[in-house]
């Protein structure tokens, strides 16, 4: 499932708090696994909650509070979230390097009010229209869709694929 599929297939919400750092997403002690992605993915977000990596299903959502992804520039943080199966990260706000990295590697990072969403709620999202729905609570939230260049990068599957296709990057 690509991030821009506006499928009505719901995904489960995995709730995280504020200030989830890249150290919590990708603990530094696993750098030796960089060349072993499948195993590294098994440690995704491990220091934030241990039940996420073993149980997440393709199409689920990482749902967080403020300042998600603060800290280091390690791009493997969004990479392993994407590889873990998450369709998007929904957060009240993002740390800027994480945000750029997520788009660049083809993981949708959506700034949206996540208040009231509960762990395990079934969510659907329409990226282009900017609508998030929580089937459990009936919450419906609108968000500012991404600037066109970022939507295009996501649709192409990340910055590398985008450059392969267009040979360049233009606003």
């Amino acid at each position: 499932m690509t991030p821009t599929d506006s499928a009505n297939t719901p995904g489960r919400a995995w709730i995280f708090g504020d200030n989830v750092s890249t150290d919590l997403i990708f603990p530094g002690r696993y750098v030796h696994l960089l060349s072993n992605m499948p195993e590294l993915v098994g440690h995704t977000l491990e220091d934030a909650r241990t039940d996420y990596a073993p149980n997440v299903k393709p199409g689920d959502f990482v749902v967080a509070g403020e300042n998600f992804g603060m800290g280091s520039s390690r791009e493997q943080a969004p990479v392993i979230i994407k590889l873990s199966g998450a369709r998007a990260v929904l957060a009240k706000s993002f740390a800027r390097i994480f945000f750029r990295n997520a788009i660049n590697i083809g993981l949708a990072a959506i700034e949206v009010d996540t208040t009231g969403i509960k762990d395990g709620d079934k969510l659907t999202i329409d990226l282009e229209a900017g609508v998030l729905k929580d089937q459990a609570s009936g919450i419906e939230r609108r968000f500012e869709p991404l600037p066109p260049i970022m939507t295009e990068i996501l649709r192409d599957g990340g910055l590398i694929e985008h450059i392969k296709k267009h040979g360049d990057i233009n606003l």
Partner: protein
Amino acid sequence: MPMTLVEKILANKVGHDVRPGQLVMTPVDQVFAHDLSGPLAISQLRSLGFKGFKHPEKVRFFLDHASPSSTVASANEHKTIREFASEWGVELVDVGEGICHQVMMEKYVRSGEIIIGGDSHTCMGGVLGALATGMGSTDVAIAMYLSRTWLRVPDTMRFVINGRTPHGVYSKDVMLHIIGRIGAGGATYRSMEFVGSTIAEWPVPERSTLPNMAVEAGAKCGLCPSDARTLEYLTQQGRAKDYTALSGDLDAPCNFEMKVDASALEPQIALPHNVDLVVGVTDPKVRNVRIHQIYLGTCTNGRIEDFRVAAGVLKGNKIAKGTRLVATPASRQVYLQGMKEGLWTAIVEAGGLVNSPGCGACPGVQTGILGSGENCLSTMNRNFKGRMGNPEAFIYLGSPATCAASALAGVITDPREVVR
């Protein structure tokens, strides 16, 4: 029209006026990656089928994070980077030269430049009046190749810092205090511009802790003016020709301004596990907190000035029983200078140990990983859970003086009585 410093830099580079929030495509003057961010950047470049850089002189790779290598995996990654650098004709700053940000400041950063680094603390380059900002490996790879990148023009937050810091209080304390006030996300996407009489007085190395930690408040960049102090530093570094005067207009509109009275501060401590949980050193929350490891160094406080302060406190004394002290100079230049001044002798005689230049224990892959339940007090910039390699450990942040004083006492200690 009056402009903030970041607006001036960007307007000059893109060739037209800019306003906060605007997306711009900008030329890039220097791009670098290190041994953790470099391998992925290299594999991205290779997967694109590129065969070389248009501007190899703008590109650099540093081996500083897992350095010297402590595992076969990191040794092989170093090898990949060395081979790539020689094949593509770019500079390799090898093991032992020091931390990328420190070396960039010593040798390469010029005011007015736009610098992209594959590391979040790239913002430290702002100390010399450059728009230096961290990005991930893919952005870095593309910036290396295209010599340009897109940026959102950041809002500016102006920090007006006035007054002389009291004895035993340093730029680290000022920055911890600022982050404590605005929070870990308080400057997200923005540019922190540091001005005022305190900044005007501080030499560049003392200033550098502020832009270094700008990312700890979420900022895109942290900037100091390029002024007489900048010229003085560049002259010491044999690079006076790299100097251009550049500062933000103080009447430029910006929607946030904070005044800081540096003369009223006491030494500050950040509590585990958030950089913005900041208290004064006399706060009951930190009084008598037992410290198992002191870590002196990193891009934040691994300079010769920092080790002079720490060694001054340690010289002729003994580190407390049950506390260990690890020191890691930020660069070869610092290492050599410390040798000449006998700083390492003072630290080792006091019972500490000194590592070769690099990131050392900071990223949690080598030389000083903490035991479960242990407390560390460090001159580092971040104390997140799991930083330094063990999520069961606790990291407190403070200045080099506070760290050295606490090493002698074995508990968090106010340095003001022992600093010489």
